[in-house]
């Protein structure tokens, strides 16, 4: 096969994998178009988290942090094992974040000689490329100590969360504003109608019925934008310098049997190979080719006018004077390796030693239903944002500091924005690492034998509650309470208002034996800014210590009414 054909195949592969990844994120949503049996659980029609389960870094890191490979994560061997033989093909052919970095790096700029020269220079191997190995070792060290921080930098988790919680919501809002602007008085009427028609078509493909908007996405957005912009300074800076997944695959490519063979005799040092190199791995004659840095994009071979470069199985390793032997290993120092590992291992106890992790945890830290205990949660959550995206009520959001620095961008339920739908188990269905268990409907809602899954408990703020503080009737929290019997119960009282008139109304109370902490009451409370009934995490099923009642057996149905 001609090398140009192979390069074309690579380009097709990049577009295809990126599209599939993007499509999977789009499909990570509750769709009105599927109609299951109303009796049964509402299931997602496709395994939308499969892309994240293919990620070997997630597999390795969660193996270290939890001692096991969770369900679908075994799929990551599909990437890891071929890497052992081929090298970092994933980075050049598959990784959607890598492809995005590739494309942004390659947006054409003016081809003046100086810029080409600068580019060639920047594509030579640089010492900063070692940083990614230290990042990897640091994060693996933290994983060993039980704190999974890998998700912050893992390219697939990074891209999934950036597309899902930043790009798509912002795109939706932007498009809507544009349409309403076009339909406004600036533009003649037919244009507005056309714009609406165009929007309606885009909407059915790209936007869900209800676009979720997320807490604190500015930090996520800035991080993502930074990663993208750096490509314009150094080609694929993220992939070369920071990406811990690339580093892991680099380590695993040590014994690969596929590589670059250089024929010194043909080379006239035009440096076209360097000009097009993605990995800064020394493809030119005269440099040592670095296997662990190469993305196997094959640009160098395709660019070489002399046919001096060829990728093949079992390449000839013989060195000549002009052509040093390829470097198979990873160029890192022992001292820095030990330092990174030790720092990583020390990281978890360091950030957990304060009061915030256990004793003084934020009472507002409500985790999704089915979440495992906090310590294990932090050993599993990769911050991919899939749970936030799939939640039909927009209830789940990235944390800022509610779960400490350690839990940055992990999911938190904000009941004021959306409550937890009792019959819904979608967040557990999409979680790729088992941080949120996939509950059955009975486990979620409970029945006469099984207690329902609790994510917290509601408390009434009598100083803000209309019937308690303001002699004004209101029963909205009770009306919305989804448990049967209702966890919010009412007691009729006659109170006096400011004019001295007596008013008969019903004041709400909570039965903590029935309350699941879903937050429907907080969501519906008419006191808009800070609800008069609020959910905190105490009583959550996942914790053995965050409790307050001695006896919490579910009450029998007949005991009231």
């Amino acid at each position: 096969m001609q090398i140009k054909t192979v390069r074309l195949l690579r380009r097709i592969s990049q577009v295809a994998f990126f599209s599939v990844f993007f499509w999977l994120i789009l499909k990570t949503t509750f769709e009105a178009s599927f109609t299951p049996n109303p009796q049964s659980e509402i299931l997602l029609p496709s395994p939308v988290s499969i892309a994240l389960q293919l990620d070997p870094l997630v597999g390795v890191a969660t193996l270290l942090s939890t001692g096991g490979v969770f369900k679908g994560l075994l799929w990551c061997l599909v990437i890891l094992i071929p890497t052992i033989f081929l090298g970092r093909f994933f980075c050049g052919w598959v990784c959607p974040m890598g492809s995005l970095n590739h494309w942004i790096s390659e947006i054409p700029f003016k081809k003046t000689d100086r810029k080409v020269a600068a580019r060639i220079e920047s594509n030579r191997y640089k010492r900063y490329q070692r940083i990614k190995y230290y990042v990897l070792i640091l994060f693996l060290g933290a994983s060993l100590a039980g704190s999974l921080q890998i998700g912050l930098f893992d390219p697939l988790a990074l891209l999934a969360r950036s597309i899902g919680t930043v790009l798509l919501p912002v795109l939706h809002t932007g498009t809507l504003s544009l349409i309403s602007w076009i339909k406004g008085y600036w533009v003649p009427p037919p244009l507005g109608t056309w714009a609406q028609a165009v929007y309606d078509n885009i909407e059915t493909i790209l936007f869900p019925f209800r676009q979720a908007h997320f807490n604190g996405i500015l930090t996520l957005a800035l991080f993502f934008i930074l990663v993208l912009v750096l490509n314009r300074i150094f080609t694929r800076f993220w992939c070369r310098g920071i990406c811990p997944l690339g580093a892991l695959l680099g380590v695993f490519s040590r014994y690969s049997v596929f590589g670059l063979e250089k024929r010194t005799t043909n080379c006239d040092h035009c440096n076209l190979c360097l000009q097009h190199c993605q990995g800064a791995d020394g493809p030119d004659v005269g440099s040592a080719w670095r296997r662990a840095e190469c993305h196997l994009c094959l640009n160098c071979q395709a660019a070489c006018p002399q046919g001096a470069l060829t990728f093949k199985f079992y390449p000839n390793r013989a060195a000549t004077e002009a052509n040093p032997a390829p470097i198979t290993g990873v160029n890192i120092s022992r001292r820095m390796t030990i330092t990174s590992l030790a720092s990583g291992v020390a990281l978890a106890p360091l950030i957990r030693s304060g009061t915030a992790f256990a004793v003084d945890a934020d009472p507002g830290l409500i985790r999704p239903p089915g979440s495992v205990s906090e310590a294990e949660f932090l050993a599993r959550c990769i911050r991919c944002g899939q749970c936030m995206r799939v939640c039909p009520n927009n209830a789940l959001h990235p944390t800022m500091l509610e779960a400490g620095i350690e839990g940055l961008w992990s999911p938190i339920l904000i009941a004021k924005i959306g409550y937890c739908e009792p019959s819904c188990t979608l967040c557990g269905q999409v979680c790729p690492t088992g941080a949120i268990a996939h509950l059955t409907r009975t486990q979620k809602m409970g029945d006469k034998e099984t207690p329902a899954n609790r994510i917290g408990t509601a408390f009434i703020d009598r100083g803000r509650c209309l019937p308690w503080a303001m002699a004004t009737p209101c029963i909205v929290c009770e009306e919305w309470c989804p448990t049967s019997p209702k966890s919010v119960y009412l007691k009729e009282e006659t109170v006096r208002n400011s004019r001295g008139e007596s008013v008969t109304l019903k004041q709400p109370y909570i039965d903590p034996h029935l309350c699941t902490g879903c937050g429907a009451c907080e969501f519906a409370c008419p006191v808009a800014d800070r609800a008069a009934i609020r959910v905190t995490s105490v009583g959550e099923t996942r914790s053995s210590s965050n409790q307050f009642l001695l006896d919490r057996k579910p009450r029998s149905v007949s005991s009231r009414n």
Partner: protein
């Protein structure tokens, strides 16, 4: 020193910019402080002429909900009395919650589907079913089974979207203007299909309370003066026909329910042209009488119908 050409050019540019600035300011100057939001002046009156020969409330008891619906509907004049050829019909079930039909928190899908079919048989050009639900509308329409039933019958389900609410003059004592879902305002006929449920503030929620479901905005505030706001809405929204779903009645833990222990199977369907009479009869399923239920009494006082449904014209059919 500048030469004459430069002087004229610079001065001209400055004058042009000044002119444009002043022009834009004057053009967009807005003296009034009135709100920009469009206010739709429209009544929600979709009634057909009263017929003294016919009862205003009919009730049929049958294990087959479709039979019960058809018999009670025929007794009040049949579908052709209410729907004419080529009309657009909007059906308003109560689909507030993410619940299954057995839990009796939502209107029965059988009744909604059959009603869609009947309207189409009568020649309706389009039958739309929509509701401003409490829980997520996608889940409510799917789990209630109504989406399936409507689409099978040939009707169209429209889920409420934020941009589809129009600020509307309700002109009531409590509610002067409020955002209303536009589909309820842009139709020829409107059919209300509520379900009977216990409600801790109202005692009984049925036909008139169902109009909360046309509203957007902070509608939970309305509970503070619930009787008056329901009557305001009922005075604004006069449906062509009311079909009361009493196939299952939610006795406790309403309006959400959840447990089958809360549900009584009654196998009854009522049709009404008098909502007050319908609600008055409906609350008897919960062991109440209309003259003890605040909003029903207030509705009669306002002239919306009769609490004494027998006096209004009541007929039970087999």
């Amino acid at each position: 020193m500048i030469n004459r050409r430069e002087f004229l050019k610079t001065t001209g540019q400055a004058l042009a910019l000044a002119g444009v600035s002043a022009g834009v300011g004057v053009l967009f100057h807005n003296r009034s402080t009135a709100e920009y939001a469009p206010i739709m002046l429209k009544t929600g009156d979709y009634r057909v002429p009263d017929d003294t020969q016919l009862p205003r409330l009919t009730l049929s008891h049958n294990e087959d909900a479709m039979v019960a619906l058809n018999r009670s509907l025929d007794a009040i004049g049949g579908i052709r009395r209410f729907v004419n050829k080529g009309e657009r019909v909007v059906i308003k079930p109560n689909l507030g919650w993410d619940r299954t039909p057995e839990q009796a928190a939502n209107t029965s899908p059988i009744l909604v589907g059959e009603m869609v079919r009947l309207c189409l048989v009568a020649g309706a050009a389009e039958v739309i079913v929509t509701d401003v639900t409490c829980n997520d509308p996608r889940r409510c329409f799917i789990r209630s089974g109504v989406r399936d039933a409507v689409e099978k019958a040939g009707g169209r389900v429209i889920l409420p979207k934020e941009e589809d609410f129009v600020k509307t003059v309700i002109d009531g004592k409590m509610i002067s203007t409020w955002p209303v879902l536009k589909h309820f305002l842009q139709t020829d006929k409107l059919i209300n299909i509520p379900i009977i449920k216990q409600h801790s503030l109202l005692e009984c929620t049925c036909s008139m309370k169902n109009w909360y479901g046309i509203l957007g905005g902070p509608r939970h505030q309305l509970h503070q003066k619930i009787d008056q706001s329901i009557v305001d809405l009922a005075a604004f929204c006069r449906p062509t026909l009311t079909v009361v779903d009493a196939t299952r009645v939610l006795l406790r833990n309403g309006p959400t329910g959840g447990s089958l222990d809360d549900v009584a199977k009654e196998d009854t369907v009522m049709c009404a042209t008098d909502e007050v009479a319908a609600d008055s009869r409906a609350c008897e399923f919960l062991g109440l009488t209309g003259d003890h239920v605040g909003h029903i009494v207030l509705a009669e006082k306002t002239g919306l119908g009769k609490v004494d449904y027998r006096a209004a014209g009541y007929k039970e059919v087999a």
